[in-house]
Amino acid sequence: MDKKTSAAQQKTDAVALEVFSNALLSISEEMGALLIRTAYSTNIKERHDASTAIFDAQGRMIAQAEHIPMHLGALLSAITHLLKRYPKASLRPGDAFLANDAYNGGGTHLADVTVASPVFAGKELIGFVANMGHWPDVGGIKPGAAMTEGCTEIYQEGLRIPPMKIMSAGKLQEDLFSFILLNMRFAEDRPADLRAQVATNEVGIRRMQELCRKYGLKRFRELIQGTLDYNERWIRRRIRELPEGSWSFEDQLDDDAHTPEPVPLKVQLTIRHKPQPHMVFDFEGSSPQRTGGVNCVYEALFATVAYALKATLDPELWSNAAFERVVKIKAPEGSIVNPRPPAPVGGRGTTCQRLADLLLGAMSKVVEDRVTACGHGTTTVNLHGHDPIRGRSYICIDGLGGGMGGRAGHDGMDAVQINTNNIPNLPTEVLESEYPIRIERYELVPDSGGAGEFRGGSATRKDFRMLADTGFIAHADRHLFRPWPLSGGKPGALGLHCKNSSEKLPSKGGPHEFNTGEVLRCQTAGAGGFGDPARRSPERLAVDLADGKVTEQAARRDYPPQLVDQALALAAKL
């Protein structure tokens, strides 16, 4: 904060900032609620795979409503990229810009389509509003092309759109839009999505104008600055509570969907209190960029770092550009965490999940009690083909939850989405009604959660019987490297893809062809346990045994005999 700021100013700010930040959040929330309600795409509407944000006139993000953490900060550089192509002086009220490119548009993969609009008070540019929604298809070699065989460059993943003026002074640029639509599958519903995204910004614009009017431009700008400064102080305050030092952590992805070698990831975390508390994340030593789609552009990396900070420093921290001030990220150019075009990025979600593990792992060396042991990561299933029953082509995307790592004081949750993902599953009654598939089992996997004082969460298994010839593209991980434990716990179980219960398939890539009647078994990883298993309470172990989440055999392997006997006796009474 400016040193000249008077004490009087600071004390009114103690109230004004909280009121103002609520007003900002209220705008982004309103935009978010409107987008979710008005979009057509199931991804946005049902799975809340969407996010809204507001920015100041310099393009700094000042508030965000994200519904999955993957989007936290993913809109961060949207306006910076926009301003590179369209100088401020060229912007007019009623303009709106569309973008999806991961290298030039501020996106993280092509399916996330951003619409950004400038906000004017009279002739003065006072800020921007933007929203991002997941479109079901943006072209590319296959529906949902990411991680498909032969998809080795971003060009094959879909249409790349840099920030382009889609609305000019309130008028849709039909030439551009029809060009975009012609390059996508299932394009007939996209006008509805675009309309929703534009309308969402219009609400944001109106509300921002009202807010500016209420406070006056000068105070409005002061409060924006104050909001960023406050969040910065807040984050630094939390960092100061941590010890200074430097710690590193390593982990790896099974493969990149293209070449079968593991993909090493490494971070060196440094915490310094001087000159001001800050953190440095250095990813030197991580794999060079790969030809499979697991590359992760800076925005996605930043979103993951911001997730890890909110999760470990303070979940209430505001989501704004202040994170950029207190965190320094060093990501070697040309590496998997800062690829050069045209490296493909469609599978960045899998990498972000592993990066979140990596960051939590590094933080575990600083504040073990605040983090979880390693969880399952990602398992997303892409099944596609021609449905002879309904006479149409289909693509079915389903994500499976798995174990969350054990944590100080709590077992890890069973069968949940973790880290940057929080997307619900497809109900079996919906899935079977829409696709030629029958689900034969969907259940927890016993003994998949690592033993510990606080057990790792259990994995899930879902068996798909194909009622038509089907292609399967896998987006998963942790089939080779077990989810790590913390504080003396045991690791979680590996994930598995299996054809007809005998033929093992890799964690990523495809398509693998299934004939009618064949079965795909998808099993996520479990999660690592937290703390010495000998310290587990007999009551907790008893419930696990009674519920069959842990078998007696595994209990005898992982826990002291006396504890198991005691737990078995208790279990018999449950």
Partner: protein
Amino acid sequence: MKYSVGVDIGGTFTDVVLMDARGAIVAEHKVDTTPAALEACFVEALSRASEKCRPEDIHRILHATTVATNSVLEGKGARTALVVTEGFRDILEIARQRRPSLYDLKAERARPLVPRRLCIEVRERLGSDGSVVTPLQDSELQRIAACVEGTRAESVVIALLFSYLNASHEQKLRDYLSKSFPQKLVIASSDVIPEFREFERTSTAVLVGYLKPIFAAYTKNLSNELVSRGHAAGKLLIMNSAGGVMSPDAARDRPHAIVESGPAAGVIAAATLAEQLGEKNVISFDMGGTTAKASLIESGAYRTTTEYEIGGGVHQSLAVRFTGYPIKAPMIDLTECSAGGGSIASVDDVGVLKVGPRSAGADPGPACYGRGGTEPTVTDANVVLGRINPDYFVGGEARLDRRLARAAIESRIARPLGMTVMEAAAGIIDIVNAHMARILRVVSVARGLDPRDFALIAFGGAGPLHAADLAADLGIPRVIVPEAPGVFSALGLLWADLRADFSSTVRRNVTRDHAEHIQGALGRVEAEAQAWLEREKVPAKRRALARSAEMRYPLQNYEINVPLPAGRVNAAWIARACKAFHAVHQRLYSYCDREEQVQLVNVRVAAVGRTDRPRPRLLDRGGASAQPALKGRRKVHFQEAGSFVDCPVYERNRLRAGNRVAGPALIEQADSTVVVPPSMSAAVDVHGRIVLGLKVKSAPSRKAQWAKA
């Protein structure tokens, strides 16, 4: 004289009102709620209200209760076993695989109400068209019965895949298990809610199994208490979450439908008041001790949702769906936030003032209660600012200690921030208002509506204290404060119709090809609804069936509720139904596609038995001057003035119809205080309601301009 009583058990207080046949409130009270003994609270509240009348003078007793929600949140329901399709034992464990908090690594998900050890897999399978893939063998029935025996469960719930299309397997199991275990409660999901999406259907059926024995005991205890106090059986009616009342027997059979009964009563009260006032569009705003709730009444109708969950997470003012216990039954659509009189204010370690989400509750309560609370709350701020009269809280039954309120704010807020106590207290009010403004916006603007076209009905003990500032912030032109705001929800009980909801999944496009199918489903559900009205002994002329449907465009995975036309399903009916859907879609989502087919997912029928609503009593007329009600003057802090202003204080009881009060002023009554800021004035209408509006004629709202044109 005949009386009606409404007893509304809330989290902090149990409210009760006694109303005479002319619609006058004869008695109103608040008693502390003891969660462990709700029946006792009910009895105490009832006796307090009916001190001056004989049991036989009371002809209706209406009741809203938290017993169902408490049992779920505290895990105190019946031991329940669950029978599921083979391969799906973990349907409750997996749920929809979401976690309730995005960033809080310590968060816990709602634990399944049936632990895994009590879940039993049965060998059977239906296909997605309802056809039998694996038949249910008789030998399997015996095996399942043996498993059930071993669970020692009180209730058994059967929830099989695709039972909404073909209930035969569930029915076979239900009949067999009922016969084998006459003492156990056996519930089939297709009997509870024959709708698709297996987790939500199973969750709803499990709630019935889990709650029914608890609720049966509860209603039995209440009935016994009533009989022992000389009340004839049959007077008692229970509020449900959809805004209707039902007999205790009916409620016992549908305990999942009564979980949000108290908040629903508040919305019914607001909707009824809106109707009496001729206000079409209203936001109902209920601020109590721990939460503030907002709901929308649009064109006279309140909204229901079937996406309600008990105990789910909230992120960015939106529910994180699928993280609690979903209930597939219509509930009044409410948005709430943790902001109430008891919300605690604190300074964070970076020097910013925060309010909530923690609440001091009733015990120890705000610092000014003098029960040992040392943390300052919103109520303490209101006391320090002169907005609450410490000697007239709950009509003077409780004395508040202004010094304790001051001391708490001084030591915890003012000193750390280098502010005066007044500045700190005013800051607390500003911040809690900012939180509440967010939910008011979520219910209106996010649905494409402009708050400037709405009136705000403010109630709950704290509602009238904060409503005027909120209205000013949102541009809401009018605030209406009902006669007894503190017990307004209890009053809503007296105004509710008898109601139960029935449904069935159709999942067919609305075309002539499927006319017969749709007609069949409607016919079955309406017959069920009629049978219920019959059982509840509703006279024919008071019966009404309200048809609606969840509809969508075929590729959407998200339905909206649309009223269905009357009459048989034929070409004209189909055209009208589709038109209605497009129109609602347009209104809610600002677009529609009239060329697209429309799919009807669920038909829904509300069986309604109309209640006579007592006409509101006329208040004696007075002149424009409120002078006779003036009880004194004091210094009160108004947010818009930013300072203390010496202002008149009026006694609400002595106000007469036609009186006008210009701000700045306070109007005090036993159960609340109405703040009239300097820019506003208040008028008392013929029925004693207070209507606040801006003094200076504001620019007419968009709608008013249209109306003029």
